[in-house]
């Protein structure tokens, strides 16, 4: 997982040796650890049993978000606080005709439409009769009324005009639709 704990004196020693080794790529996995192994240093592995995911691709980023909705995968709670920056926003408001199922919603959001299997960041506005499914909607996105959003990652501060369809329903051959930060999508065209 790329996480190591060293005795400080040993780390200093082997980094200095590595520094003086011509042709070393100075990589922990490729150079430093093998060097210590050859020198017969006491090295142990610690087996981690918790949730772990590399989120370096669009699919894995989407999946990691969805893992938050699973029963036994990755749970955020006050027992192990993840600290973050906070916008000064009120609690989220859920309207009279809203529907929210199997989703996570953050502060400052206003949900007037339907949200299913999705992650809603702070300050997101979802208009009346809009439907958001299987998607990750990042902070301060505005989705106007009657929109249908499927299987998408929508980056921060995107504005989506009324009555638009974004993304294709999740299925075997559909791909995740990604809308870049601060995009403005309206009826005059754009990504549909």
């Amino acid at each position: 997982m790329g996480i190591y704990v060293f005795k400080w004196s040993k780390l200093k020693k082997y980094l200095e040796i590595d520094d003086k080794t011509p042709g070393s790529s100075s990589d922990f996995g490729k150079d430093v650890i093998p060097l210590m192994l050859r020198a017969n240093e006491k090295m142990y592995a610690y087996k981690f049993n918790g949730y772990w995911k590399d989120v370096g691709t669009i699919d894995s980023l989407w999946q990691a978000n969805m893992d938050l909705l699973g029963e036994n995968s990755f749970e955020l709670s006050d027992d192990w606080i993840i600290y973050s920056r906070h916008a000064e926003k009120p609690p989220h408001y859920v309207g009279k005709d809203a529907v929210i199922n199997n989703s996570i919603v953050s502060e400052g959001a206003v949900i007037l439409g339907a949200v299913e299997n999705s992650i809603i960041f702070s300050g997101v506005i979802i208009g009346e009769n809009a439907v958001v499914r299987d998607s990750v909607i990042m902070a301060d996105v505005e989705i106007n009324k009657n929109c249908v959003i499927n299987y998408s990652i929508i980056d921060e501060m995107v504005k989506i005009g009324a009555n638009l369809k974004i993304g294709r329903p999740m299925g075997e051959d559909s791909e995740i639709t990604v809308i870049p930060r601060e995009s403005v999508i309206n009826n005059m065209g754009g990504i549909i």
Binding site: P91, Y93, N101, E107
Partner: protein
């Protein structure tokens, strides 16, 4: 800004017995993630006031915990910042304050030591959104001794009896001030917010010491209305006076209106600051049903929530139904429980299958740490 803020944490807590039984009025949780103190404090910070004295009287532990160093309001600073002033328990001038003027007497040395030219006095039980710079400008224009912020409203619309009513002449100068009158109709109701020159406030306090005055409303405003230049500054936005369980409930429920929500939390004056807890966002499970509600972070909802306000870290179990209710921090509503028109204080636990019913004009209150 050249003004000192003074906030009174509880001037009238006798009518808030349930919510203020173990905390200052200023520390009463409101609006899903705030405490009442956040509103006057944010008004001050948004107006550029960076020195605030918070005058507490009793049971101020949760208030101290909430305000802390003041860093969440950007009031943790070397020059100015927030200073919480509890009463002395022994020595000269010890004991609880007997009124606003008495409280001011006890902090006279702090007032004298501050270098600001103006003082803004505010209570903690009123929610409104104002830029004090405009009030101070008006105060200067009228060359007033005291400028009182007021709202024109029908007194019948509020159940509060603790009102100060102002009558003004054509120039806007007060020519009569009534304290807690029994009346109805349209009046200029004071928001218990006053602007004064600091030196003038000092002179008022000296006078109060010499004459043993203790009550600002009666002994200064009402008694000296003709000798002092008291002017009114009209405020016309959203206003709520939280001074009973009923007004707490009604004004909380007003937040379920989008326009009200916007006018309070997204106004031009600035955001409402509060202590941040870094909770995870709220999770709605597969069978959750949620309508017309205000939900803070850190909740897990498996059942039904309608027309309600949920504070941070509230759990609503499977098939549980929460309607027309306010559930404060760390509340637990277990599976199959059914509650309607209930206010639960922090850490309340409602067991499985319990049915609790209040009524909209008589919400049922459940004390802190109660297990039902």
């Amino acid at each position: 800004m050249n003004a000192l803020g003074i906030i009174f944490s509880d001037m009238r807590d006798w009518s808030m017995t349930e919510l203020a039984s173990h905390r200052s009025v200023a520390a009463i949780p409101f609006g899903g993630r705030y405490r009442l103190i956040d509103f006057p404090l944010s008004n001050m910070v948004n107006s550029g006031i960076n020195k605030v004295y918070l005058i507490t009287s009793s049971n101020y532990r949760s208030l101290m915990e909430h305000v802390g160093s003041g860093k969440d309001w950007d009031l943790s600073r070397k020059n100015g910042g927030i200073l919480t002033i509890p009463p002395y328990s022994a020595g000269e001038n010890h004991g609880l304050y007997q009124g606003r003027l008495d409280a001011l007497k006890r902090v006279l040395d702090y007032i004298k030591s501050s270098k600001e030219s103006y003082v803004v006095l505010s209570d903690s039980d009123m929610i409104y959104d104002i830029n004090y710079n405009k009030v101070i400008k008006y105060h200067e224009e009228k060359n007033s001794d005291i400028t009182a912020v007021y709202i024109k409203t029908d007194i019948n619309k509020s159940d509060s009896i603790h009102k100060i009513l102002y009558e003004f002449d054509e120039d806007g100068r007060a020519d009569d001030i009534l304290v807690y009158p029994v009346t109805n109709g349209n009046y200029n109701i004071g928001l218990n917010t006053w602007v004064m020159n600091k030196e003038f406030l000092e002179s008022l306090i000296y006078d109060a010491i010499a004459r043993n005055y203790k009550d600002f409303s009666f002994d200064v405003l009402s008694a000296r209305v003709h000798s002092l230049r008291i002017y009114g500054y009209e405020y016309s936005g959203f206003f709520a006076h939280i001074d009973s369980l009923q007004s707490y409930y009604e004004n909380s429920m007003k937040l379920l209106n989008m326009d009200t929500l916007k006018s309070i939390f997204y106004s031009n004056t600035g955001p409402i600051y509060t202590k941040t807890k870094d909770s995870a966002p709220t999770k709605y499970c597969k069978d959750a049903i949620i309508k017309n509600s205000l939900i803070a972070n850190g909740c897990i909802i498996e059942g039904t929530v309608e027309n309600s306000i949920l504070f941070r870290d509230v759990k609503v179990g499977k098939n549980a139904v929460v309607k027309n209710s306010i559930i404060m921090q760390h509340g637990r509503i277990s599976d199959n429980a059914n509650i309607n028109s209930i206010i639960t204080d922090t850490y309340a636990f409602v067991n499985k299958d319990r049915v609790l019913l209040g009524y909209s004009n008589c919400p049922f209150f459940i004390k802190k740490n109660s297990v039902v």
